[in-house]
Amino acid sequence: MLTLIGNLKLYLLLSVTLRLLRRAQRNSERVRALMREEGFVFQIQTARGAGGYFELRGGVMKLEHGLHPRPDLVQIWSSGNEAFRVMISSDETEVLRAFELGQCRMQGDFLIALWFNEVMKIARGRDSMQVTAFLAAAKA
């Protein structure tokens, strides 16, 4: 049951992330410039295979559920709950702590993670507190 809830939280987070990202694309010239950069596939999943991937192609970001056969960057989380906890944190260092503790494994091009960090920082922007609060409520 806990695993199921954790996975649902992860799916919710990925969906909200896509919405935030698209809104940022409308409102931020910097995000539009970033979206014009080279495409990639960023897989975010749990060790049991739950999750999805973001695919940037031709300036359009898509979210697909499931596993991509050849992602450019993969984050494999020990659980959906752990992924959710770290990814809603406004402390960028949380992911590094999780990596060191073995709660998150990664493969591929870490530049994509930096790209994502930048877009999400802009996307969360001035109302990052509300976004974080909304997501934290889901955590509870």
């Binding site: 402390d91 960028e92 260092t93 949380e94 060191e100 503790l101 091009d109 993670a113």
Partner: protein, 548 residues
């Protein structure tokens, strides 16, 4: 009111380099610095090849080497479970950059294809570099230093800049009138803020890292010949970090961690974990810091410019923070001198931003790739890494391969250090030849206009760089009669632009420098090249002095 040609705000390495470079061009400056002394933190740990070339031009290379890593000591970068080992790999001889300076300089001296810099890099801490630069500035009659003074504010008009300086302790203030004001005042640059110039990047992409400065006479014994490696990257299940020895001849070390102490962790427990054993050491200072990948949107307005950390903030992966600033100061100094001496045209100072901002962005992108590479090196790590099993052995090999293939770009990128070009600069004559390939790692020697002149030696062992004019431009005449240069000399004379003709009648130099005539700027970049000197050279001279 006190008058000075150039007022420099900031007495770190970039501000001091600018003052010394201006003096070499015969220009006086006043440098103010709100701190009363040079830094006591190790900060940077490398003066890269290009900066060393610049310091050689300023007759400081040997003094800096004397204050840094001993010439026979290694500049290795290793990857290990801890400073006690096991070591997955040590990068020691795969590139000139890891070699002791004495060894590297022999390779440089015997290089004939221009593929190596004139100077090898120098492993040194900023706290030991700054006193060398400060001593040189104090001994220079063209430089007035005021440490313990800050810039309070300034206004600029068509003829100059009026600045209000304030004594940090006494509060006394003084007005200064300068032709130009340059802010080398760091990441929180007051000058940049007064100019209302922001950064173009997004802050805090990586978060808050942590740094510990320690001293120990015992750590050296963990390394062969008691000679600590320059960098020991540490990675094992549950721990990662970087132990830096800025100078194998001293007992200062810096330990970087990707985040601050966790609950229950002490500084000592972190140091012990990095060392992999219990040794005596003293923690000097520690604290969090936030790496950035930022470049200023503009490098100045009219008579006020910025340089160094005021124009860019980089994560130190790649060692391009101060080193980018040194090349900025070098670029700016001769242009300021030209304008003060009257031969620089109205567009010359504008070319500072046109040339340097693209380099700052290119360097930022490179540093970001290096940072990503450093993280990626840890990706193959498994819980079996340190097991004495085939799986453990395989994992250690994977880690070593990842390190050598990825992190090596941080050290071996001569394409970044000496391969940057002022492509499309308004003060470089457009080269009709197609641009040669440019790579971040591999340096391609070329005299394509805008590139740094490849370094080479004459048959008698003298470096061509050492023969270039101290002030003004140098025309290299390769197997050519210097008299052919008279139309260019006449045009330069008419514009008041200093020009020296340097005949080089050696086949290997003629091959390397590609054309019979190569016109080199005071900052050692090519401004124009050709096989014939045009009869009408005014357009060349006017372009390169910003008066076209």
């Amino acid at each position: 009111m006190n008058q000075v040609p150039v007022l420099i705000v900031g007495g770190g390495p970039v501000g001091l380099t600018l003052a010394l470079s201006l003096s070499r061009q015969g220009v006086r400056s006043l440098l103010v610095n709100d701190r009363k002394a040079t830094t006591t933190h190790p900060k940077l740990d490398v003066v890269n090849c290009r900066s060393m070339e610049i310091f050689r031009q300023l007759a400081l290379a040997e003094k800096i080497r004397a204050a840094g890593n001993p010439p026979g000591a290694n500049q290795y970068s290793a990857f290990a479970a801890s400073a006690s080992g096991p070591f997955y790999t040590v990068m020691s001889d795969r590139h000139i950059i890891y070699q002791p300076v004495a060894v590297a300089n022999r390779a440089i001296q015997s290089c004939t294809d221009g593929s190596l810099p004139l100077e090898s890099m120098q492993r040194i801490a900023q706290m030991h570099l700054e006193p060398v630069l400060l001593d040189a500035a104090q001994a220079d009659p063209n430089i007035e230093l005021r440490f313990g003074w800050r810039l309070y504010g300034f206004e600029q008009d068509a003829a100059g800049v009026t600045a209000l300086l304030q004594d940090v302790d006494a509060g006394a203030s003084e007005q200064i009138r300068a032709d130009y004001l340059i802010g080398c005042d760091g990441p929180n640059s007051r000058v940049r803020n007064f100019l209302n110039i922001d950064y173009d990047g997004t802050r805090d992409l990586i978060g808050e890292l942590f740094i510990i400065h320690l001293r120990s006479d015992e750590i050296a014994r963990l390394y062969p010949d008691r000679q600590p490696y320059w960098h020991t990257w540490i990675s094992r299940p549950g721990f990662s970090g970087l132990l830096v020895s800025p100078n194998a001849g001293r007992n200062d070390y810096v330990l970087h961690r990707p985040f601050g102490p966790r609950v229950g962790e002490s500084l000592e427990s972190i140091v012990d974990a990095a060392l992999g054993t219990t040794l005596k050491y003293e923690i000097v200072q520690s604290g969090p810091w936030r790496p950035q990948f930022l470049v200023a949107e503009s490098f100045g307005r009219r008579r006020v410019f910025i340089a160094g950390d005021a124009t860019h903030q980089y994560m130190p992966t790649g060692g391009l923070g101060m080193n980018t600033g040194v090349t900025e100061a070098h670029n700016l100094a001769w242009k300021l001198a030209a304008c003060i001496q009257g031969w620089g045209g109205p567009a010359l100072l504008d070319s500072y931003e046109a040339e340097r901002l693209p380099v700052a962005r290119r360097n930022r992108d490179h540093v970001k790739k290096c940072a990503a590479a450093a993280f990626e090196t840890n990706f193959p790590k498994t819980d079996q890494l340190l097991d004495q099993t085939p799986e453990g052995e395989r994992n250690r090999r994977e880690m070593a391969q990842a390190f050598e293939s990825k992190v090596s770009r941080m050290y071996e990128s001569l394409g970044m250090e000496i391969g940057f070009r002022y492509r499309g600069s308004p003060v470089v004559c457009k080269d009709p030849a197609p641009e040669p390939p440019q790579d971040e790692i591999r340096y391609t020697p070329t005299t394509w206009s805008g590139a740094r002149l490849p370094s080479a030696f004459r048959g008698d062992g003298r470096a061509v760089f050492d023969l270039l004019a101290g002030q003004g431009f140098t025309l290299l005449a390769l197997d050519a009669d210097p008299a052919e240069a008279s139309p260019l000399q006449s045009a330069a004379d008419a514009a008041g632009m200093p020009l020296q003709v340097l005949p080089l009648n050696e086949p290997h130099l003629a091959r390397l420098y590609e054309k019979r005539f190569v016109l080199v700027r005071p900052d050692q970049h090519v401004a124009w090249r050709g096989n014939e000197i045009p009869q009408a050279c005014a357009s060349i001279v006017n372009t390169i002095r910003g008066a076209a």
